[in-house]
Subunit: 424 residues, 2 copies
């Protein structure tokens, strides 16, 4: 019997969990600061719900945890938080719009596990449902930037494109099947221009068509430059949207991060308008740590009302990984602040009383539960990484002054209980 | 395609989630106050791990979500938080002991869904691993009481027994298979004395044996009474443990809640010492809302070192249900505190600036994302249940005083932004 967690999953020990809880709490605060509220959905969904967003069909079963329950219901562990939310919004047309929800939780994909890639991982999503205005798209971007800033990151790159522009480009060069082109273009970074060209040709696109498309999407420049160039080349509502995104971003002071990139696709084929990826400049090589876009058809696809929608997803694992490796967490490895040592058995009841007094005052306090002697209690507190130890013996009980030992600095002070409460 | 969540599972809309998050945060604070730290484990475990605690074998597969992954690994969604934690502790012998961890999360059981019973539900557990002293057992009880008090409950009943006492009683009347007797006795409340008697006889226990056993476990009385009576009847280490639990409970002021009940079994067969159930007196009829006990063999069963252990589990669903039906939540239905209304399109950029100022000051603030007019913006804020609305027009921007409208009291005051920040 292996004692390891199942392949692709992880256990999180307390020191790790304290860091992860810090990330969750920090982004939650930012989400709520912007008027997003929490939604929760089950860990698994009907296969019919999952397949609707997966888009394609049976082959998606190979990429998720698919199973049947005892009544032969087809189920699957959720592979993202967008599909379940879209189901909820479709099922609840009475919700005032825009419906702004956040959800932080685990999702599962049956990927090949590799460095930084897991079968069980956490996402933190905000979505705005019911507004077709670019104000919603920009708010998502601002929330992403503010969340990352709150975690200690600065200087970002927001790569942005619009599906409508890509669509117009594809049509302009004379290609009909834009879905398949999206899929190939999405691999640009992975397999390069040559690879994409080869793949598109194999899909029946002519070399000439591919080349004209490549010329268009490869253009680089500032947002205003790209808009000017793009508009000269072709007509698309996407430019108007892009224009608005840039100009609204100015109001929030995040326009300086925007880079228009006509080659950006964002793999999933349900996007309908702006798509974006947020990078931390310093860690650009690691890839985007937040991404999203507009998907105006999804809720309708679920049988709901016509509901324009936009959202972003923070990649918790990547954030956690960078913050850990760059030592960005300024957190204790344990939430326990104080250990109260009983010098001998005679004072144990007094130690309980003192502990409870400190706990009631909000100090996270621990005491010996194992009948250990003085030295062993100190060793335990030290092994746990508790920063302070309070020593209680008959003498101290009489004088009402207790030595408070700083375990890192290896120094101690005599304090009354009230002084100790004040200190923490 | 049904838009309902899968059978036995639920969606939680924002107002519900705010309440559930409040419960999670409240008990988390109490857990940490007592020196417990967070652990997280995957949603699913190897079948070999789950079956080890399930105890029995193949039939457990019918009671859980069991499935195979693409590599034919046998997996199952966790049915509690104790089995995964025991695996982690067995796999990490280096952890300083006692290891005090909490875990709040979902578990899954393939039960028949019924009122208040779900296939996906949440538990909040604290466990202490590595101490055989009753100090640990009592700490678990204190944490349970303090958690429930923090949520607004008062006056409890702690039903307590000890497996060693039950074991001695069973042996004394001459029965050998205590496991099977535990299983039957556990149904006492459900099928009554007659039902249990019948079942035990069908299992091969003689009528006389059953009757003597029933006489013993039916005794009622105060803790000291029960201890006296019990000790007269038979010898058991369980009495000494019970004695210590009662006397340590006095130090924490929770002895007044203790009721010794020799008929208490706690179904699962891995308990080895004290077992307990905590009831809120006012809601005694609803059943226990917290329960646990000592299980000294579980970590060893997982192949780990000999690790005495005790823990409790708070039944989040039952707590949530009672608090909801008794209107115990004093919480807003939305975390958004303020909606800033743009009187017309000319002031929209100013509204963004004001919003950001308020957000940066920590006020959870929303603004119009849909290009709506004044009236529609107010209606939206009202529909969401946001308590305050701030009105921004050219006049207000000039005077730097803004009407803040209390949406419940239907009254308004003119305030500067600084005054508004101070108010929230």
């Amino acid at each position: 019997m292996s004692l390891q967690p199942p392949r692709g999953t992880r256990d999180f020990m307390p020191a790790d969990m304290i860091r992860r809880q810090y990330i969750f709490q920090t982004v939650k605060n930012v989400f709520e600061n912007f008027g997003f509220n929490p939604l929760e959905t089950p860990a698994f969904e009907s296969w019919s719900i999952l397949s609707k967003k997966g888009g394609a069909g049976e082959e998606v079963k190979d990429e998720i945890y698919y199973f049947k329950d005892k009544s032969d219901r087809e189920l699957g562990l959720r592979f993202d938080l967008t599909a379940p939310m879209s189901r909820v919004v479709a099922a609840n047309p009475q919700l005032p719009k825009p419906f702004k929800r956040y959800q932080i939780g685990r999702v599962w994909r049956y990927d090949r596990p590799q460095a930084g890639r897991f079968r069980e991982f956490w996402q933190a999503d905000v979505d705005i449902l019911g507004s077709s205005k670019m104000d919603a798209d920009v708010e998502c971007l601002v929330v992403a930037v503010k969340s990352l800033e709150a975690l200690g990151f600065k200087n970002f790159i927001i790569r942005i494109n619009n599906r409508k522009i890509l669509d117009s480009m594809i049509k302009k060069v004379g290609i009909n099947n834009s879905f398949e082109v999206f899929r190939s273009l999405d691999k640009l970074e992975k397999i390069g221009e040559k690879g994409v060209t080869k793949e598109l040709i194999s899909k029946g696109v002519s070399k000439k068509e591919v080349n004209s498309l490549m010329d268009m999407i490869k253009m680089k420049g500032s947002a205003s430059d790209m808009l000017k160039k793009g508009r000269k080349m072709l007509k698309s509502d996407g430019f108007e949207e892009l224009d608005q995104v840039v100009s609204l971003s100015k109001q929030y002071g995040i326009d300086k991060y925007i880079v228009v990139d006509f080659s950006l696709v964002r793999g999933l084929d349900y996007y309908t308008g702006p798509v974006f990826e947020v990078f931390v400049k310093e860690f650009e090589n690691i890839g985007s740590i937040t991404a999203g876009g507009r998907y105006d058809n999804l809720v309708k696809n679920y049988g709901g009302r016509d509901t324009p929608a936009v959202g972003i997803s923070l990649g918790i694992e990547r954030i956690y990984e960078i913050m850990s490796s760059k030592k960005m967490f300024k957190l204790p490895s344990i939430n326990t602040q104080l250990f109260v040592v009983a010098v001998n058995d005679a004072v144990r009841n007094d130690v309980i009383k003192i502990c409870q007094k400190l706990r009631d005052a909000g100090v996270n306090t621990e005491l010996d539960l194992s009948g250990r002697n003085f030295k062993k209690q100190l060793e335990y507190a030290d092994a746990l990484g508790i920063s302070y130890v309070l020593i209680v013996g008959e003498k101290e009980l009489k004088s009402k002054k207790f030595p408070l030992k700083d375990m890192k600095k290896r120094e101690q002070k005599e304090l009354t209980l009230d002084q100790i409460v004040k200190k923490f």
